[in-house]
Symmetry: C2
Subunit: 552 residues, 2 copies
């Protein structure tokens, strides 16, 4: 039963040097379906970089072959790069559920030049998108209205899980559609790609409802002002905060740009429910007693200018905290944000607030299935092959091992990294020829112009600063006066200006001494060496040395 | 019963902007006892800084009043700044237990110019040090031979806990000396200063022995090579690793500078025990089968050049890993090191190793007492007053609350920060006049010359690089040719050199246009503004602009 169709090719783009968390493509008979177009977040090693995009350069020549984009859910790491993608591929239609499309529309309002072709789909629906026979499966995650996507191909059905967990009592009453997954499994699934984030965590993630119980308990006993922070996309958690606040007789006040943007959208689309009279504006808060209000705000990750961070620093113009107030951080600690988050907590405690965070109370649960949930998932689908996605390498390997425990043969459980291409043919997978994966840095107005070379320069500058020497020579390459030596970030000038004079003298002496034969390259090399040695000997530092030669 | 003695003054130095973790002083009748002289570790915000010292500038004028230094235990954050301290105060005697003194001696070998006056004391001992009547109490921690210090003063007894926990089955059979603490309590303790690190963690820290059980289990089932990492000062954990390795029929091999330095010291002083025939040199490892060896190495925090990090990157010259090997990370994740540690784990998994870390197995326990242990501690001492130390602000407040639960009155439970001075008089404490606390940065050869101003420059340089313009003018301040505009870290020159020419032209045009009246300051200001605007408009970045004017 050899198929006349070429193999289906699955490719992974960008990511964190590991695996297609942010963007994948599935190619069937020459047509491309893109699943997710997400952002990668810069960390401390990405000096000055604003955003990181997966490098979809491999698609540049194939614009006409791209049939559609499916966005599994409305998180930034799955849809945040869309404005950049649509600028390059403007006519590609984008599919997502109602909430996802609503959030994409809100995002695109900041990019009026983009005229996106957005299509709403529903969980449970089967739909042909060009030559693609797609089925959308509802999944539970830390944002409502998430999807897994099944692609029925001539070589078998592929299921891409999106981000999911198996919470059996989610807030909206729609647990991940296990019967739908089971039906797909009954018909036969050739290949599963699935979320590996929590594959190293044993057991099951507790239900989101447990967070609601904690909130009720905390709100019930709180006497002063309550400030609660969570992700502005975590609509269900905000719903629980609203319910706990109303039950405790408090008015709600949303604070922070993304809270104020997302909550009306979520309410209008039917994902969030509250009465008008239960919500007050920030200006009205001052007129209410401290125990009459619950502020729901941004800043759960210690972002420097977010509402909660300003409160922690005592610099929020409208909201101050005092002894007896309670701050609830109903959120995770995203790796890399630890210092900023603990700085916030310490600041809040210094203001006198009691801070309830996940380190001291069950006020957060993950949105990603833990190991035993993944076993359920694999046993329901009974797929022939598996590729773990969405995780660090250690998570992928842990998830591979789980899938094998559930019956996927070792040679059909492939740990992939970005740039890998997997071929599915007649129900079996193998690795194909890969491509060079990459990330594209967005820095200011530039997209892709800053690369590792520039970042290396910034790193050097960040460690020991820069020394600039201007060497003025005459037309016969003789030094005219002592070189001007200046610096930034090497020494503290008010106290050490003498060092610059000394450097200048040392440089002049050295340039007079050596026979550079009028060659500017020689002068430059000599100057760089002299100054590098000078700073090493004087202060033990290695600044960037920048020499400018002026012929006067 | 008013005492003729002036109040006893307790002062806190340095720390992480919070509290005397690293260094405190206790002044009795004009004489100063220093407790700990520790290092603060730089993080990503300390661009290029090598080490941070507590600022003991407040003591500069009082060198003659310093009676002694007591080091509670041999961790870097408690004794690492000693070489710098002793350079400034060379004649001050230093007291510590045998292991602590041994580790100080090893550290001072790198500073042969320092002739330290070191004194060994024993847990349980009472000793007069000048006018100070001291009692040393043995405590359990993540390094052996730790001390709490009681200071009997005319205004009452002060107990400084050092770092401690109440493990009832420590490896060396010496649990924290609760009977000694109880005896002090019976006689009356006026003030306790105690470790707050885990005050937010409920319950008790499991015994160090539980880590040994995990090791035995892992070692028993491991088939390939075993590589175990932990802190090179955690002698008891290394002992357990040795025992597990020998029980599993493996030879031990120490790898990494601090392992190779500390283990012989610990063995010689009687804190670590192993047979010569159980240890092999790294060169012998190649000759052994994979299941015959257990490597004990440095790198538990993902330090870039440590042994384990090199193995993770596949760049260790002697040790390679392969499928079937087991790496055991018997260590904590120190805040700020998360990314580096996870990078190591991912690298090790990519080499094929199974990685056992605290996220997946009980292979680490903390060295600091958790909340319920702290309650025991307070109830045994029954002190009249309390100052939480060693922790972030949130930990201090949590510990303050615990002490109050155990009976310390609210006005005698003082949350302090560095720079605070607390006065103890007739058994009661109050805050006195504080001083400006600070940290001293060590950068290369410089101690204290780099401050926040230089760090701000480095931060600016790190974000968007630097643009350097050299403007050559004649003696009448007329521009001679187009300015030379160069950059580092702003753009990628091979592809964007045209921007530099454009910047030069823009600058020349602007400088020709404006009437600067021959004033160099005006020319400079105009040039900076023009270039700042140029980069903002062209690439949306804000590099440091450095303008050098040359009169030719």
């Amino acid at each position: 039963m050899t198929s006349p169709h070429p193999p289906v090719a699955i490719a992974f783009y960008g990511g964190l040097g590991e695996i297609g968390r942010n963007m994948a493509s599935i190619e069937v008979d020459g047509r491309l379906l893109i699943v997710d177009v997400g952002l990668i977040f810069p960390d401390a090693e990405h000096f000055g970089i604003d955003l990181i995009l997966p490098d979809w350069g491999a698609l540049a020549e194939r614009a006409a072959d791209i049939e559609a984009v499916v966005i599994t859910h409305g998180h930034e790491d799955h849809m945040g790069a869309l404005p950049f993608f649509l600028r390059e591929f403007p006519s590609v239609p984008v599919y997502g559920t109602k909430l996802t499309v609503g959030l994409i529309e809100a995002k695109l309002e900041e990019h009026p030049e983009i005229d996106a072709d957005l299509h709403e789909v529903e969980a449970g629906e089967r739909r042909d998108v060009g030559p693609f026979d797609l089925e959308f499966v509802g999944v539970t995650h830390s944002i409502p209205d998430g999807l897994a996507v099944a692609v029925h191909t001539p070589h078998g059905t592929i299921l891409h899980s999106g981000d999911f967990k198996l919470d059996q009592t989610p807030i909206d009453g729609h647990p991940t559609d296990v019967p739908h997954l089971a039906a797909l499994g009954d018909d036969g699934v050739a290949l599963v790609l699935a979320d590996s984030t929590n594959a190293e965590s044993p057991g099951f993630v507790p239900s989101e409802k447990t967070v609601g119980s904690t909130m009720h308990e905390v709100f019930e006993h709180a006497t002063g002002r309550i400030v609660l922070t969570t992700f502005a996309s975590h609509i269900h958690r905000v719903q629980q905060a609203i319910d706990a606040a109303v039950a405790a007789g408090r008015k709600i006040c949303f604070v922070g740009r993304s809270m104020l943007r997302n909550m009306p959208i979520a309410r209008e689309l039917g994902y969030l429910s509250y009465a008008d009279e239960d919500v007050v504006d920030l200006r009205e808060v001052a007129g209410l007693a401290r125990e009459q209000v619950a502020i729901i705000c941004t800043g759960s990750q210690g972002e420097p200018f977010a509402a909660l961070s300003l409160m922690a620093a005592g610099r929020h113009r409208q909201v101050t905290l005092e002894r007896g107030d309670t701050v609830v951080m109903a959120s995770s600690v995203i790796p890399g944000n630890e210092s900023a988050i603990y700085r916030s907590i310490n600041g809040l405690v210094r203001q006198g607030a009691t801070v309830v965070h996940k380190g001291v109370a069950p006020i957060h649960v993950s949105g990603h299935a833990a190991a035993d949930e993944l076993k359920f998932f694999h046993n329901v689908l009974r797929a022939d092959a598996f590729i773990p996605i969405h995780g660090e390498y250690r998570h992928l390997v842990a998830h591979r091992d789980i899938a094998m425990e559930c019956g996927v043969p070792e040679d059909q459980a492939l740990v992939c990294v970005d740039g890998d291409v997997v071929l599915l043919e007649d129900g079996r997978v193998r690795k194909g020829e890969g491509f060079q994966p990459g990330r594209v840095y967005v820095d200011g107005l530039g997209v892709g112009d800053v690369g590792n070379a520039v970042l290396r320069h910034r790193e050097q500058l960040s460690a020991d600063g820069i020394c600039v020497a201007v060497v003025v020579i005459d037309t016969r390459a003789r030094l005219l006066g002592d070189p001007a030596v200046t610096q930034k970030g090497v020494i503290y000038e008010p106290e050490q200006a003498g060092l610059l004079e000394k450097a200048s003298t040392a440089l002049a002496t050295e340039l007079d001494r050596v026979d550079h034969d009028g060659d500017q390259a020689t002068i430059r090399r000599q100057a760089v060496q002299t100054l590098a040695r000078f700073w090493r000997d004087e202060v033990g530092r290695r600044p960037v040395i920048h020499v400018q030669i002026v012929e006067a």
